[in-house]
Amino acid sequence: MAKEYLGEFEELILTLVAGLQEEAYGAAISEEIETRLKRDVNLSAVHVTLYRLEDKGLIKSALGGGTNERGGRRKRIYSITSAGIATLRAIKEVRIDLWKMVPQLKMS
């Protein structure tokens, strides 16, 4: 696992960036969180987290096209780097390992 630990929210955003692919930009991610997780999230929080993840080298970004809905402003589309994928995978494996320690309830 990478030396940098990820917070819960960072992990969430990283996963979404990986999942949304071409549609991974600030507003879309925040909308996704709101609809899928029923969790209120502030746009600025999403942006700040994206920048932080970029600083850590887990995602990279490029400017995409603008739409009318956005007043002509371009989007910054994020995509996950291989370091990001590795981190996500490491997290998942550790979780599964830990989950195995939990005595499982047998459904009779």
């Binding site: 930009y25 600030g26 507003a27 925040s30 909308e31 502030n42 746009l43 600025s44 929080a45 942006h47 700040v48 987290t49 920048y51 932080r52 400017l63 603008g66 739409t67 009318n68 809905e69 956005r70 007043g71 002509g72 402003r73 371009r74 989007k75 910054r76």
Partner: protein
């Protein structure tokens, strides 16, 4: 499509965003915001809502989202432009400050500990001051409540009392339309409240039905009308818990004073310690009236003063105008020259402004509050001067730094900034240390001031206070160094031309100021200490040792003779007597007339009603004549007077003379030495003592000398239990009660000691730092002097000279000023010392001795080192 909305608010929001947001991130953030805004407008989730509502909601959200972008994660992503170099420089300054602290650990320690001590004492004092000011805030309506007090003219002086007369209660209500309500209460008395087998003795206040609503007493159970039933009682939380545990006390019957059954109709929150009003339970005064017929009888008696009257005013009423209107309300019923004038005093002033002279507020505890606020301020100021002195004393080292900074382009303002950052840095460290110290000292300080002070870390006020103190301290201590250093000329400084104290005058002035303040503190505190000791050791005229006193009930009153015999034969009791009050309190007064009285004015005497053995039990000396004795049948018309009374009456041979009191004519059979009843700061009042059968419901017992007083008390208690099993009253040692009543004396004495010590400590710290520094700085000079033949003594003299001169100047300034100030302070007490002649020489010698010792120890180090060692290094 641009943002559809062009309202000024949205435009402003975007402009704000542009301002805070780094340019390379702006476009996408704006895009996201606009997209969100548009989707909010089109969203279909609240289809019921109108379009207008959605628009407003979208706008609101947009604004909020923009504001939320104002966060470090965004702000700090800005490429640093000129405005932001400040931020970097501050980091740099902090680093330099840390290095300065590290490099001179010794001075830094002196500096920080001095400031920390100053800060600790000022925080403690401010906590206490805050506590004193929070008095009587328990009642939610405290701002609009006033007490009606009365000014009486006796013996040519105006006395102020809170006792009022019953008719004024109704009369006040209609006297002025700004008076919303009035309320009548008794004073608080001890009563017993029993429930089944649980007994308790509690302080009870009898109140008229307006009381609850008027004061806004916080209720837990019951309503503002809970006392409307004459046989009801309300308990505080603790008493309710004590009697009923977890059961619901409402509608339970308790037995009041062993006789009356009262129904519990409510529970109120405990009255906190910082309250002038203090009671465990409330009963309606109507019931009180029935049991104490005099209250009913007195409904139209204007000349019978005992209940308290409180007034609720409409908000914004001009109290001066109301006072002018009610002034004569009682007076018009009097024609004897006592001239009782009514006036109102605000609840917020009851505690701190409780002293009246000539019918006007004349301070009270507020004087102490002010005094110690000043002293705390001075202590902090001394600590700041310490900082300034030590900071500028190191000027030689810092001068080069300043020179280099200037030559590579520092502006003067930046250097000022640097030194302020440094002083604030040290102040903050000292504050952290100070707050830790406060936490550690609080339990001890609480026992000292007898209050429950605590730091409320969650309160805004506290942090406001701390911030204010940090800013004041930081500015005060940083101001002079900042401007001093920043004014160095780089060329001169770098050539090594340091001008040790380019401005030594200012530093001398600072050290002198510090000395002046400490001389002032020391002299002041010695005098206050002396005054307190003087009052504490005042000849009280009776002996407090083993003296026990308490109020008893009717049951014991009936059996007084039996109880007295039983007690005397128990072997642990020396003497027993009963009287209308304990010897240490002075509640009952009377007008006295005598043959040959010169003036027309009414003269007020203290009135003690008692029985046989009063002087014997209390240990009062008989100066002339004899005590009451069962051998003289005529003693029911005999009276003892104190020495002051004889002086006032101007009698040459008092024995056998007659005096006239309000109810009889009495013949003087003896003169007693003066007894201090009431405050030991006050003069002794004239007093007469007779076998008057008033309501002699206080028992005074002198226990035999023994090592085990608790055992004696148990024996005494057993006697009471036998004759009155219901009795719960705790006997009280007169000395304990006295200490409790005059706790301020003790407290002020101890605070005075504390601050004298702090003042000396801080000044010593200052001298220490400065002396050490001077010695270090002049090491080479001292070495050369030594080589040229100076003795260690010569060197000591040389360096001591500087400090001693300053100390002498300070003494010359401070001594006369403090003498005058203290003399006028002492005028507040009628029983006071004259300042002893030795106080000033003693302080002077002390200060000089301290200076000599501290400076010498520091110089010795430098003076005794081998000159080779100090000179070879270059």
């Amino acid at each position: 499509m641009e943002l559809k909305d062009h309202s000024p608010v949205s435009r402003l929001a975007f402009r704000f965003l542009r301002w805070i947001c780094p340019t390379h991130l702006l476009e996408e953030i704006e895009g996201d915001l606009i997209q969100k805004y548009n989707r909010d407008i089109q969203s279909s989730d609240h289809s019921k809502q109108s379009g207008n509502y959605k628009l407003r909601r979208a706008k609101r959200r947009l604004l909020w989202n923009v504001i939320r972008f104002c966060r470090p994660g965004i702000l700090l992503r800005n490429k640093f432009t000129m405005e932001f170099t400040g931020g970097i420089m501050i980091q740099h300054y902090l680093k330099t400050s840390l290095r300065v602290i590290n490099r001179n650990k010794y001075y830094s320690f002196i500096n920080i500990s001095g400031l920390a001590v100053g800060i600790t004492s000022s925080i403690l004092m401010l906590l206490w001051v805050q506590y004193e000011y929070s008095y009587d805030h328990f009642a939610t309506n405290h701002k609009s409540i006033f007490q009606a007090k009365v000014n009486f003219r006796y013996n040519g002086v105006v006395n102020t009392t809170e006792d009022n007369c019953v008719p004024a209660y109704m009369a006040l209500r209609s006297a002025d339309n700004r008076i919303r309500n009035t309320c009548l209460t008794s004073s608080t008395y001890g009563h017993s409240i029993d429930y089944k087998d649980k007994r308790s003795g509690k302080e009870v206040l009898a109140v008229s039905r307006e009381f609850l609503e008027m004061f806004g007493i916080p209720l837990i159970k019951g309503t503002a009308h809970s006392l409307d039933d004459p046989y009801s009682i309300m308990l505080n939380e603790t008493t309710a818990k004590e009697l009923f545990g977890d059961r619901d006390p409402i509608n339970q019957l308790v037995v009041y004073d062993h006789v009356t059954e009262l129904k519990v109709t409510g529970v109120f929150k405990d009255v906190p310690d910082n309250s002038t009003f203090w009671f465990h339970a409330l009963v309606p005064i109507y019931d009180y009236a029935q049991k104490n017929a005099w209250l009913l009888k007195d409904v139209d008696k204007w000349d019978s003063f005992y209940p308290r009257i409180y007034v609720e005013m409409n908000s914004g009423a001009e109290i001066e105008e109301v006072n002018a209107r009610i002034k004569d309300l009682v007076k018009k019923h009097f024609d004897d020259g006592s001239n009782p004038e009514l006036f109102l005093q605000a609840m917020d002033r009851w505690h701190l402004h409780n002293k009246f002279v000539n019918g006007k507020e004349a301070g009270g505890k507020i004087e102490y509050v002010k005094l110690f606020t000043w002293i705390a301020g001075l202590t902090l100021f001394i600590a700041c001067i310490n900082y300034m002195n030590l900071a500028t004393a190191r000027s030689e080292r810092r001068a080069k730094e300043t020179g280099i900074r200037k030559s590579i382009g520092s502006r003067k303002s930046e250097l000022i900034q640097q030194f302020f950052v440094e002083s604030f840095f040290i102040t903050i460290i000292s504050f952290v240390a100070g707050i830790i110290l406060v936490r550690l000292c609080l339990p001890w300080f609480n026992t000292l001031v007898r209050a429950q002070l605590s730091i409320d870390f969650a309160s805004v006020e506290f942090w406001f206070l701390v911030n204010a103190l940090v800013i004041i301290t930081g500015l005060m201590s940083g101001f002079y160094p900042a401007f001093y250093f920043s004014s160095f000329k780089p060329a001169k400084v770098l050539k090594g031309n340091v001008l040790e104290g380019r401005n030594p005058g200012v530093r001398k002035l600072l050290v002198t100021a510090q000395y002046v303040i400490s001389v002032f503190l020391i002299i002041g505190m010695i005098v206050i200490h002396e005054q307190i000791q003087y009052v504490k050791s005042r000849e009280l005229g009776y002996s407090q040792q083993n003296l026990v006193c308490f109020a008893f009930n009717d049951q014991i009153a009936k059996n007084y003779a039996a109880i007295k015999n039983e007690l005397l034969s128990s072997g642990v009791v020396e003497a027993v007597t009963k009287s209308n009050e304990g010897i240490d309190v002075d509640y009952f007064t009377d007008y006295v007339e005598w043959d040959g009285k010169q003036s027309q004015e009414k003269i007020q005497f203290s009135r003690i009603s008692t029985d046989y053995d009063f002087t014997k039990t209390n240990g009062i000396r008989i100066l002339e004549g004899r005590d009451f004795s069962p051998e003289f049948k005529s003693d029911s018309n005999a009276v003892l007077v104190n020495k002051t009374a004889v002086t006032i009456m101007g009698m040459k041979n008092p024995i056998g003379q007659k005096i006239k009191t309000r109810d009889r004519e009495l013949r003087i059979i003896g003169v007693l030495s003066d007894v201090v009843r009431g405050s030991p700061f006050d003069p002794v009042a004239p007093c007469y003592i007779g076998m008057l059968r008033d309501g002699n419901n206080h028992l005074t017992i002198r226990l035999s000398k023994t090592n085990d007083l608790t055992a004696s008390l148990k024996r005494v208690d057993a006697v009471f239990k036998k004759l009155d099993p219901l009795n719960v009253d705790e006997p009280q040692f007169v000395s304990d009660r006295f200490t409790h009543n005059y706790k301020t004396i003790d407290f002020i004495g101890k605070l005075a000691d504390l601050f004298a010590f702090l003042g000396i400590f801080l000044t010593c710290l200052g001298i220490l730092g400065l002396a050490a520094y001077t010695a270090e700085q002049r090491t080479k000079e001292l070495a050369i002097r030594k080589i040229l033949g100076a003795s260690v003594g010569n060197l000591l003299l040389l360096l001591n000279n500087y400090f001693i001169r300053i100390a002498v100047v300070a003494l010359l300034v401070a001594a006369p000023v403090s003498w005058l100030a203290l003399n006028s302070y002492l005028q507040n007490y009628s029983y006071r010392i004259t300042i002893s002649w030795w106080v000033i020489p003693f302080t002077a010698l002390g200060i000089l001795a301290f200076t000599l010792i501290i400076v010498s120890t520091q110089v010795m180090k430098a003076a005794t080192t081998n000159p080779i060692n100090s000179l070879k290094s270059e």
